[in-house]
């Protein structure tokens, strides 16, 4: 039973982190898959979401500004809004840049955002980061939550302590994973609706043939900024959940561009850009490969260090970790060259009118 519990919790953590990456991938899908905007600064928006959430919801602290102790959903909503606001400002000036220029500019902006978080020590505690970030569901067992309203209306703190003691210490894991999957599902539903709506078809038109859609009277710049802002808001929400999952964030290692920006790109390309299901599938698939390759490499190190006893296994372990990144990079190259559409290639939504004429021409009833 104990062994199965371990597997169950591993599965839950896969779903949790995979779900967070799925949110990032969905956000990128709006920007790249729908609108064709090459955002190479995903990590910047994620960092904004994570930091705003962390500063708003942690308990008061002397290390960083505030610690405003706001309710968690409020923190997440403001995190989303801040990411959207910053994306809007960036979009206003950068959106008309051509694809690879936009990539360079967004990388630069993401680095500037990280530099600000690193250097404004009074606000963000600089490189030492922010810790004790409340995680949804687990936070109920923290004293400042159960001793204040609304939890204090239901039961006394002593009763809450007794209640949480009676639960297993991983009680929050299924709930947290479930919440994230629910968020993924809601975003997916909303984006599917957007994709098949006139707005989504217009985005495709702008991406495929900008002059033609301009000639048809579409406000290309405005639509692009919209897509950029919506994508960034989703990334900001993902960032808030990322901060909850990690509980400790700092500017350099947490928001490593290769582990956020690049991994999300691989996920979207592998899953199929332009396809929301593909983005989710790619996120879970690549995260599982990433996570499982750790176990695989750990096993390989055991074998290698057993054969070559002169090598120090601890050095091997630190270095082999980098082979994972290489594996993912090579995987991406293979997908890009052999399966450019990804696992689930984009399906164009047909316009309602077109469907009717086809049905009429062949004499079928719809």
């Amino acid at each position: 039973m104990e062994a199965y519990l371990g597997y169950f919790l591993y599965l839950l953590s896969l779903l949790t982190v995979g779900g967070i990456y799925a949110i990032f991938a969905l956000g990128l899908n709006v920007q790249w898959g729908f609108a064709g905007l090459f955002n190479a600064g995903i990590v910047g928006f994620v960092a904004v979401g994570a930091y705003v959430y962390a500063l708003l919801t942690t308990a008061e602290s002397t290390f960083h500004i505030g610690g405003f102790g706001l309710p968690l959903p409020v923190g997440m909503a403001i995190a989303m809004a801040m990411a959207a606001l910053i994306a809007g400002l960036i979009g206003l000036v950068c959106i008309r840049l051509r694809s690879d220029y936009l990539a360079i500019a967004t990388i630069g902006i993401a680095e500037i955002i990280k530099l600000i978080f690193k250097n404004e020590t009074d606000i963000t505690n600089g490189p030492r980061g922010i810790n004790k970030i409340p995680r949804a569901w687990e936070h109920f067992s923290e004293e400042r939550f159960y001793s204040s309203a609304p939890m204090s209306w239901i039961a006394t703190p002593e009763q809450w302590v007794a209640f949480f003691d009676s639960l297993p210490n991983w009680y929050w894991q299924p709930l947290f994973a479930g919440t994230i999957l629910l968020v993924v599902f809601i975003i997916y539903k909303m984006l599917e609706r957007a994709r098949t709506s006139p707005w989504g078809r217009m985005m495709t038109a702008i991406r495929e043939n900008e002059p033609a859609s301009r000639a048809a009277g579409k406000d290309v710049t405005k639509r692009r900024i919209e897509a950029f802002v919506i994508g960034a808001a989703i990334m900001g929400l993902g960032g808030a959940l990322f901060a909850q999952h990690l509980r400790l964030i700092e500017p350099t290692n947490t928001f490593d561009p290769s582990k956020v920006t690049f991994l999300v790109w691989v996920m979207l390309i592998a899953g199929g850009s332009g396809n929301n299901r593909g983005a989710i599938l790619g996120a879970f698939l690549i995260w599982t490969i990433w996570s499982a390759s750790e176990l695989l490499i750990a096993g390989m190190i055991d074998v290698i260090s057993a054969v070559f006893s002169t090598l120090d296994p601890s050095i091997l372990a630190t270095r082999a970790g980098f082979l994972r990144m290489m594996l993912i990079g090579i995987l991406m190259q293979v997908i890009l060259q052999r399966y450019p559409g990804g696992i689930l290639p984009e399906v164009r939504p047909a316009s309602p009118k077109a469907e009717k004429t086809v049905a009429g021409a062949t004499g079928e009833t719809k």
Binding site: S99, Y101, A105, F262, I269, F322, M325, M326, Q337
Partner: protein, 315 residues
């Protein structure tokens, strides 16, 4: 004029800025040539540069184990051969399949190459800092005494003199190549108009190879000069250098090698001089934001004048 402030300004801000500028300039030459001739932003450039520095260090360590202390500049040509090989292999495996495809595909591919090379270096050499050349660099005594007699003392370690000399040599060689040789002229022609160049019978594939070779030599030099300056090797230095180099290439105008050199010097100087106490006693910009200066210049240039100062290509 030449008081304590001048002394401080020249020795602690101007000269380090120029040194950094030389390094950016060499890196930006490769980026601007690839951008102009192959028409894509090569994100892997910084990592290739970094791997060149690691190779140079390995050559020095291997020869050093045999008891000969090798100067980094001697190891440089051998490392350059390796880097050229790496560039050509990357081109064959990762970039060539996309020659006729959308630009964006090849940019994503170069993004992947960046990660592959970096993780390979991290796996082979480990993620920790390595000391390149140990010891404190003393200022060149001759230069110090000569300029000191003239009333304006310049403190410059030998490494900085080598970096200046190497950069000037490479830029002169490059301008000879581009203006006097057939290959160089073909490179310029392809950069200006690939279709016209193709029609006149220029072999574009050869030109692309030449581009990688020139870019490889400059990138290795930039990498080795950078570690000569900072004296430490890090696996993150490629990514740190990448954006300033892009900034330099964009500032000078895409496809303009001289523009890249000028842009590199401007970016290097701007980064160092931004920390100079221009107003009052405190630095104008906190040194923590030094790397942000290049990004800011780049973003402003992209928006205001995307063709660069020297009328390069703008897409």
């Amino acid at each position: 004029m030449w008081d304590a402030f001048g002394f401080e300004f020249v020795n602690f801000y101007l000269i380090p800025g120029l040194v950094l500028g030389c390094i950016y300039a060499l890196g930006a030459i490769g980026i601007t040539l690839t951008f102009g001739i192959l028409r894509f932003a090569n994100f892997a450039h910084g990592e290739v540069m970094m791997s060149g520095a690691y190779i140079a260090w390995t050559i020095m360590a291997l020869v050093g184990a045999a008891g000969i202390a090798l100067h980094p500049l001697v190891a440089l040509p051998f490392a350059a051969i390796f880097v050229i090989g790496l560039f050509l292999l990357c081109d064959r495996w990762f970039y060539k399949p996309f020659r006729k495809a959308d630009t964006i595909k090849i940019v994503i591919a170069s993004f992947g190459v960046m990660l592959i090379i970096r993780s390979a270096v991290q796996a082979l050499w480990g993620p920790n800092q390595i000391t390149f050349v140990p010891g404190i660099a003393r200022p060149n005594a001759w230069l110090q005494s000569v300029t000191g007699d003239a009333g304006m003392m310049i403190l410059m370690p030998n490494k900085h003199l080598w970096i200046f000399a190497g950069t000037i040599l490479l830029v002169v060689a490059l301008s000879y190549l581009l203006n006097r040789t057939r290959t160089g002229k073909a490179m310029r022609a392809v950069s200006d108009s690939p279709d016209l160049a193709h029609v006149t019978g220029i072999n574009v594939e050869t030109v692309i190879k030449a581009t990688w070779i020139v870019g490889g030599i400059c990138a290795t030099a930039a990498g080795v000069f950078l570690v000569m300056d900072t004296q430490t090797l890090e696996t993150t230095m490629g990514f740190r250098m990448l954006l300033p180099m892009f900034a330099a290439a964009i500032l000078g105008g895409i496809g303009k090698p001289y523009g890249a050199v000028f842009g590199g010097l401007v970016i290097g100087l701007a980064e160092e001089l931004s920390a100079y106490p221009w107003i009052g006693d405190t630095p104008l910009l906190s040194p923590g934001y030094k790397t942000g200066v290049a990004f800011a210049i780049m973003v402003v240039m992209l928006i205001v004048r995307p063709q660069g100062l020297f009328k390069g290509r703008s897409f």
